[in-house]
Subunit: 293 residues, 2 copies
């Protein structure tokens, strides 16, 4: 029986950690089994196309990490490296070609891209059925209305974490700090679809602490190191830190928050691994669906 987040018993002992690393490992294992079954049945492996514009070192590292994880799970990756000076039109052309290539089942466009790129135009060139990173408007609308489609990977990973720890959002108050297109907005919509009362906060929110103190579930997704402090956490609340700032620091001040929360994600080892696991899971799902399996 899932516990209701809003009735989590206040606690004076430190919070229980939500182990994203362990959960992600279990998801990847299941995904690898499904990938193997897909390969045995179709003679071809699930394939994720990764597209990178330029050579930003962090992006290069991140794409390589995703490729390595995919390979271990039996997902082939096809990498498309484009020069930094690639135009939006050229990028759209590449993504359109991948969208219509039957050997490609999922497409990951690494972002942020250069400022000269129209990021939205690029994302929209990804066919919704291959949008395993959940970045298209179509995927966002599907998340908002509970329709079939892929989830943005970090929001999807967060929902899987909540489920794994038996946190039922229904009837709880959830506060999302941040309103980005691939994190804040969609995670709020997924929580709303699960019957949470959802509040979106952002840089223009007055007295952020007071709003966060109302929350049974806090999702910090704003990219400001240690913005959320322990004194703003309602005792017993579930604290999801989706921030990842320089120095392995999240958006939550962990040392103080862990003393008040009921459940909390560490950084690293919380949300981060779940993002990649969700990407891989959705890539295999995409492959299965495209072949009608």
């Amino acid at each position: 029986m899932p516990q209701s987040a809003s009735t989590t018993t206040p606690t004076t002992s430190p919070a229980r950690l939500m182990d994203g690393t362990a959960l992600a490992r279990r998801i990847v294992e299941t995904t690898a089994e499904r990938a193997a079954a897909f390969t045995a049945r179709t003679g071809t492996s699930p394939c994720l196309a990764t597209v990178l514009v330029g050579e930003d070192p962090a992006s290069v590292t991140y794409v390589r990490m995703k490729q390595n994880r995919c390979r271990k799970a039996g997902i082939v990756s096809r990498h498309v490296a484009l020069p930094a000076e690639t135009t939006t039109a050229e990028l759209v052309h590449t993504l359109t070609a991948l969208s219509t290539d039957p050997a490609v089942h999922g497409i990951l466009l690494q972002h942020p891209m250069g400022e000269h790129i129209d990021e939205r135009a690029a994302f929209e060139a990804i066919a919704p059925e291959k949008d395993v990173d959940g970045v298209t408007l179509s995927s966002y609308a599907a998340m908002s209305f509970g329709l079939p489609g892929f989830q943005s990977c970090t929001p999807g990973g967060i929902m899987r974490l909540l489920d794994a720890y038996d946190v039922d959002p229904a009837g709880s108050r959830a506060v999302v700090v941040g309103r980005s297109a691939i994190l804040g907005k969609p995670v709020g919509m997924l929580l709303l679809a699960r019957d949470a009362t959802v509040t979106y906060c952002h840089s223009r929110t007055k007295d952020l602490g007071a709003v966060v103190r109302e929350a049974d579930i806090v999702v910090a997704a704003v990219g400001r190191p240690e913005l959320i402090r322990g004194e703003d956490i309602k005792p017993g609340a579930v604290v999801i830190d989706a921030g990842y700032n320089p120095g392995n620091v999240g958006d939550v001040h962990f040392a103080s928050a862990v003393e008040r929360a009921g459940l909390i994600t560490p950084v690293p080892g919380g949300v981060g691994p779940m993002t990649i696991a969700t990407l891989m899971e959705q890539t295999v799902t995409g492959a299965e669906r495209q072949l009608g399996l």
Copy 2:
């Protein structure tokens, strides 16, 4: 200088009424001038296709009212009446044909439709550039991300009302009661885009009154007569009643709310007229855009 909704002075005198009828009249006048200019320039009038499945009396009346308003503003309407037993596939076929007909600039699919119709599939058959009622996933995503596109008409009308009464949502706390695809969800996204801190409430919200009492702006959009009572209105708040229930009753208990609010929409004569005015305005905008004017 727009006032901030969150610093509206508490008042002990009854709220000022937000006169949707008068504002809608002004918008329709401007729209009629634009329609006339369009007709003079192109030799053809802006055209709204209205599609009705079945003969539900309320829907018949509503469509007729929209057609009459359009005619007075110089917008031609083309009505497509389909029998109640029309299938989803037949309806999609009709909407696809209207979407590609260059003489049609906007499409209104009257809803709710019969239960045998896949409403989402029908909406999605409307081309986004003709979705002047703002019902497609594309329009919703555009509202969510501040991209070009049409607004759902009631949310769009509400934003026009706020602007006309110099209510600046930035930094305020907005509470939306209701989460429907064409009203609650999009109006929350439009308020968020204008920098309000937005909370979505619904049937599963615990202690709705306590949440509503936090609001500088309340949007009642749930379809439950007089659900929101005056004691739940923060003194001086802006109260937008988008409900319209049998007996000309809104979702707000007007008599008690008017004593606490700073600004309030009456029912009728508040949000209702703004919805049609927005539909007409967007139809002419659609016509102008499709002809590159």
